[in-house]
């Protein structure tokens, strides 16, 4: 039963190996079966954690601060479930939409290794181990980004790789300082020891270095420029995978470290986070307003939405954190789906430039309807999912009388709606500017791309229209995050220094 904790890591690993070794068609099926099994396992894990509390696995039975620990609390379990949902939807979407050449060079293996790295980063309870998982997901994302070797991909990858390597270095330096100063790498043990020595300069330096390192990965202001320069270059399925999951790994790491370990000097850290959140929201959405490329516009929106997640952490109350978590759930579903839709539009009309698209409302009414769900949800129109997360965040902000951050959040919401209507008007309402007759075969590729979009939109609509259980879930998770002693107790158990 304890093995369920590491199953989100083992399942994609097995799937990746099978996808590499089996003959081509079987390998592709293994590549889809892996994420499907991951989704099932993660749901079981979430159910287990909700029923029995935080689950801990000590690898090799070494007691807590000495060995590597895997910990799953509700927050981790939610993130792993989201990984499963995204992984499954994108694996199906990739099945026909990725070219055979890319499959030949191990697309599905890399895809599953990436999921493994993400799941590992979500479940580990050891900070150096988290660094290793970051590298696992980074190296597979590097290869996924350049797979195919188009000029734009290579160029985007130069920026993506450099910035991410830099961030890994920061991460490693921070880990080194923490180890040198406190002599432990286990996150629960770190939390205990930081609570005794939080006034130390080196510990503060380490906390801000970690914020910088995770901030580059999460694309917060002013460290986000690599994201809109690279995320629109690979195929749509890969873009969607990066957009949905990779930045959220950075956000997860920030939330984890700044609710568990560095919670003692909040006037510095959490205020900095709050200010960064405001800038991130604002500049992300301003960047999006001037874009006329479907995927670049969405890339800027990723940044802007990261701001909301950081806002909840900066406010640091149970309601605010649960708003952040709800926003992560909502954003992973909506954003990934928008990228999938952009890929589907590319399949139909052969372009990502908004100027060259048009007329899809008449020809693809179903797609137009499917676009409305994530787009309005992103803008925060009630009763869709984005409304609930923003409601929680703004409620928490008003309770703390943070007028500035609340007004920024509301303005950004409005500008988000503006750029969503821009996509709507250009892609769906405007008559098709291309003269050539338009016909798309409704073949297997068509349906294998449409089905994941419907699947994601359905989940997204469910989270919005039937929000109560999800709200309770995030409130429970936030409550756990606000009481780190539960986590520490679960990991260290009898051994408390």
């Amino acid at each position: 039963m304890k093995m369920l904790i590491v199953s989100p890591i083992l399942i994609p690993l097995v799937a990746a190996i099978l996808a590499l070794l089996l003959p081509r068609r079987l390998g592709k099926l293994a590549g889809v079966a892996g994420p499907a099994a991951l989704l099932a396992a993660s749901l079981a894990l979430l159910h287990w954690v909700l029923r029995d509390g935080i689950q801990v696995l000590q690898i090799g039975n070494w007691p807590a601060p000495f060995g590597i620990t895997f910990v799953v609390d509700i927050f981790s379990a939610i993130m792993v479930v989201l990984t499963g949902i995204i992984g499954f939807a994108l694996a199906v979407y990739s099945f026909h939409s990725i070219e055979p050449e890319r499959f030949k060079f191990g697309y599905y293996s890399l895809f599953n290794i990436l999921l493994m790295g993400v799941a590992g980063a979500f479940t580990t309870g050891d900070i150096f181990n988290m660094y290793v998982w970051f590298e696992v997901l980074l190296i597979s994302s590097f290869v996924l980004m350049v797979l195919g070797g188009e000029r734009a991909q290579i160029e985007g990858a130069v920026k993506y790789v450099t910035l991410n390597l830099l961030s890994s270095t920061f991460f490693l330096i921070a880990v080194a300082i923490l180890y040198g100063k406190l002599g432990t790498l286990n996150m629960a043990d770190l939390a205990v020891r930081v609570s005794q020595t939080y006034d130390d300069t080196l510990v503060k330096v380490a906390s801000l270095l970690l914020l910088g390192a995770f901030g580059i990965k999460a694309a917060i202001f002013p460290l986000y420029f690599w994201l809109p320069a690279s995320y629109h270059t690979p195929p749509a399925a890969v873009s969607a995978l990066f957009a949905g999951l990779l930045t959220k790994v950075g956000v997860y790491a920030i939330i984890r470290t700044f609710t568990l370990i560095f919670i003692w000097d909040r006037t510095v850290t959490h205020n900095v986070i709050l200010i960064i959140a405001g800038f991130t929201m604002f500049f992300g959405v301003i960047g999006a307003v001037v874009q006329f490329d479907f995927r670049r516009l969405l890339s800027f929106h990723i940044i802007s939405q990261i701001g909301y997640m950081m806002m909840g952490l900066g406010l640091f109350t149970t309601v605010a954190i649960s708003g952040s978590l709800f926003h992560i759930i909502h954003n992973i579903l909506a954003k990934t789906n928008l990228f999938l839709i952009s890929g589907f539009v590319y399949h139909l009309q052969g372009s990502y430039a908004l100027k060259k698209l048009g007329g899809l409302y008449r020809r693809q009414p179903l797609l137009a309807f499917l676009f409305i769900i994530p787009a309005f949800s992103l803008a925060g129109i009630p009763p869709l999912s984005g409304f609930w997360s923003k409601f929680l965040l703004i409620k928490a902000g008003l309770q703390l009388e943070g007028w500035i951050i609340v007004s920024i959040a509301l303005i950004v919401s409005l500008l988000t709606l503006y750029s969503m209507t821009k996509i709507w008007a250009e892609v769906f309402w405007k008559p098709d500017p291309q003269a050539k007759p338009y016909s798309v075969e409704k073949n297997a590729k068509y349906y294998s791309m449409l089905m994941p979009i419907i699947f994601m939109a359905a989940i997204n609509a469910l989270v919005g229209l039937y929000a109560e259980p999800f709200l309770n879930l995030t409130l429970k998770a936030a409550d756990q995050l606000m009481h780190p002693s539960i986590y520490i107790e679960a990991v260290l158990g009898g051994y408390l220094p």
Partner: protein
């Protein structure tokens, strides 16, 4: 000795940042190499650089003879070296491909994806 290492690490980080800020992609790679080496040296130094007994348990005893050196920083460095070796190998191939397909080694010319 620690002071010497501290100065060396500082110089290495400085040189790495200088190289990273240059426009040539070759210097970018060298900068990244230097950066990862400097980080490894940093872990080594901050992990407690002392001349002590090896952390081995003598026959008939349960703990190593104190004072012994902490073996964990070396293990961390080893992991970091292996990871950075793989990642840098990839980066070098990527830069080579970038030079081939874009036809320049100047980062200022690589502005197509920023527009």
């Amino acid at each position: 000795m620690v002071l010497l290492y501290a100065i060396l690490i500082g110089v290495m980080f400085g040189a790495a940042v200088y190289l990273l800020l240059r426009r040539s992609i070759v210097k970018l790679v060298f900068g990244l190499v230097l950066l990862s080496q400097a980080t490894n040296l940093f872990i080594f130094t901050i992990g407690g650089y002392e001349k002590n007994n090896p952390p081995l348990v003598e026959k008939g005893q349960l703990v190593p003879t104190a004072p012994y050196v902490d073996p964990l920083p070396q293990a961390l460095i080893l992991t970091a070296i292996v990871i950075s070796f793989g990642v840098l190998a990839f980066t070098m191939v990527l830069m080579h491909r970038a030079h081939e397909s874009i036809g320049t080694d100047d980062l200022h010319q690589m502005r197509d994806t920023d527009k």
